[in-house]
């Protein structure tokens, strides 16, 4: 299978997945979420106190902005990935394409990339742009964010996409697959809306583990890489996992989640998946 054939298939897949009005809807959703979630930092402080005030202001603020931006791309990834696999299976496109000498490995990779690649670039662009608008006074932070947001978006989307593929290849029906993928991904996204500081402070044991969920873990990783620490570091928070785990641990966790389903799904689709629709 030549590179030319792979690129031709990728072009056709992207044309189908991102055809009008999908791209427009995705951009609009991300823009709306960005606009409603970005808040200016309004605090008048003495110049000498600015670094401390700034640090205090950005704590949680970057996470919450990125978490809000995460919602539209989690939704779109779940919808598009499950649509891409389940609809193609149901309508017979998968059968037609796998009846020409296209390897299943290439077919799976192309379908996965056709959804993930544009979403990664969009989410990275939106995150950098809108968080940058809030924290324009700290170009170093924005630069760091633009650098770190790309792998974090990619790995989170890989996790989101792989759940959707698993659901699509199991259910094999378009609408039930899309709805189930949406629910499953929303379930994993939901912890990002919970600030773990207060529950940890109040001694809630479950809150300590929320940072280990995929999307919350991605935000924690971003915070760690940007050097953002909680405002108050007293015993309950100081002993919490989110505070104690290193950026490397969160990166390994995110990488684990990203590969957890992608690799088994890739192997299953290449070796065992049967097309009998």
């Amino acid at each position: 299978m030549s590179v030319r054939a792979g690129l031709a298939l990728l072009k056709a897949e992207m044309g189908k997945v991102w055809g009008r009005p999908i791209l427009e809807i995705t951009v609009a959703l991300m823009a709306v979420m960005a606009i409603v979630s970005v808040r200016p930092l309004t605090e008048i402080v003495l110049h000498s106190e600015f670094p401390a005030a700034f640090q205090s202001a950005i704590t949680g603020s970057v996470s919450s902005t990125v978490a809000s931006l995460m919602l539209p791309w989690v939704i779109m990834c779940a919808v598009l990935m499950s649509l891409s696999f389940a609809r193609d299976y149901e309508q017979g496109i998968m059968q037609s394409l796998l009846s020409v000498p296209v390897s299943r490995k290439l077919f799976f990779t192309i379908k996965f990339v056709a959804v993930i690649l544009p979403l990664t670039l969009l989410s990275w662009g939106f995150t950098t742009f809108f968080v940058g608008m809030t924290f324009y006074s700290s170009p170093w932070l924005v630069l760091q964010l633009s650098f770190f947001a790309l792998p974090v978006s990619l790995l989170s989307l890989m996790f989101c996409g792989s759940i959707s593929v698993l659901i699509a290849l199991t259910i094999k029906r378009t609408i039930p697959s899309v709805l189930t993928a949406l629910l499953a991904n929303f379930f994993f996204w939901f912890p990002t809306t919970i600030s773990t500081n207060s529950p940890v402070w109040e001694g809630s044991s479950y809150a300590n583990y929320l940072c280990l969920t995929p999307y919350k873990g991605a935000l924690a990783l971003l915070d760690k890489m940007l050097g953002i620490v909680p405002k108050i570091v007293t015993p309950p928070i100081a002993e919490s996992l989110e505070y104690n785990l290193s950026a490397g641990s969160f990166a390994a966790l995110l990488l684990f989640y990203a590969c957890l389903l992608v690799i088994p799904m890739f192997v299953y689709f290449s070796r065992r998946f049967e097309i009998c629709e």
Partner: protein, 308 residues
């Protein structure tokens, strides 16, 4: 079945949960035009999918061109073109773009002129070449699917209900095209269809399956020989008394009176020929004419399936 065997199923079994789609199916696909026939749910499409490596058999061995249908499916798909009953394309592409893409995927990039020639061959309106497939009629999609199956000059073309969406005129043209490609380019075909008279007209090898098992295989003459019932039209006067006597004969499968003639389907031709004169004289009737109805594929199909 004198021609070269290009594909073979040996005791192939395929189960989907509790349903057995193929039950120890053994068949041979020969060079030439093969007709795959059988009632709905007999396992035709499963056999086609299995031969292209889309599904894996639970038991038995399936080979095409000497390659294993599951583990060497890519090698098989290089030699085979396929048109499924369920037509699926990238609807946002034009007919020409779809063919260009499929040609690239098949590793047989063809020039625009060649692709247009292919579309002309299947008589797809020139105005439709650059239109999105999403706007095509069912017949146009069918013809595009056929053009897609013929891309890259495959050695075997598998057609699942190739004429189902076409009008009688276009059906005839497609059948002519199949015969032409077989004679001029030595392309072999495996055609699955329920329109038996059409299949009978173009095919030289028939594979009749039912409930995932092979019932008959061979040329139409061979299949007719194996058919256990034969139909006769008997003209006698008076008709009623002969009909009453024939009704009690054990070898008579079916009996009806149509246009003052007796239509008799019998299991044992020899016994019928021996007994008929006796029954006529017993009834005091006079025989005007006895005619054996030539069996066609439909008769063979009905008789074999009912027998099974």
């Amino acid at each position: 079945m004198g021609s070269k065997v290009i594909g073979e199923f040996k005791s192939v079994t395929k189960r989907f949960g509790a349903t057995t789609a193929l039950d120890g199916l053994s068949l041979k696909i020969c060079q030439g035009i093969n007709g795959l026939i059988g009632p709905n749910g007999s396992g035709k499409t499963t056999a086609i999918r299995l031969s292209l490596g889309l599904i894996k058999s639970n038991a038995g061995k399936a080979e095409l061109f000497g390659f294993d249908c599951w583990s060497d499916s890519c090698a098989i798909r290089r030699k085979v073109g396929v048109l499924y009953e369920k037509l699926a394309f990238y609807d946002h592409l034009s007919g020409i773009e779809q063919l260009k893409l499929m040609a690239t995927l098949k590793g047989a990039p063809e020039s625009l002129v060649e692709l247009k020639e292919l579309l002309r061959l299947v008589e797809l309106d020139e105005a439709a070449h650059d239109r999105c497939i999403g706007g095509y009629s069912a017949g146009m999609r069918q013809r595009l699917g056929l053009a897609q199956a013929l891309l890259g000059g495959p050695e075997l073309v598998i057609l699942d209900e190739p004429t189902s969406n076409l009008d009688p005129l276009n059906r005839a043209k497609i059948l002519e095209l199949i015969t032409f490609l077989n004679k001029e380019k030595n392309t072999s075909f495996l055609i699955s269809s329920h329109i038996l008279p059409e299949i009978e007209r173009v095919c030289d090898n028939f594979i009749l399956i039912n409930k995932g098992k092979l019932l008959r295989q061979g040329a139409i003459e061979q299949m007719i020989d194996k058919t256990s019932t034969t139909k006769f039209i008997v003209k006698v006067q008076p008709i009623g008394s002969v009909a009453a006597l024939l009704k009690d004969e054990k070898y008579v499968e079916d009996l009806s009176i149509v246009d003052n003639s007796l239509h008799v389907t019998v299991r044992d031709v020899g016994l019928f020929k021996q007994r008929l004169p006796l029954l006529i004289s017993q009834a005091g009737a006079s025989l005007d004419e006895v005619k054996m109805v030539k069996s066609d594929l439909e008769t063979v199909f009905k008789s074999a399936v009912e027998e099974a």
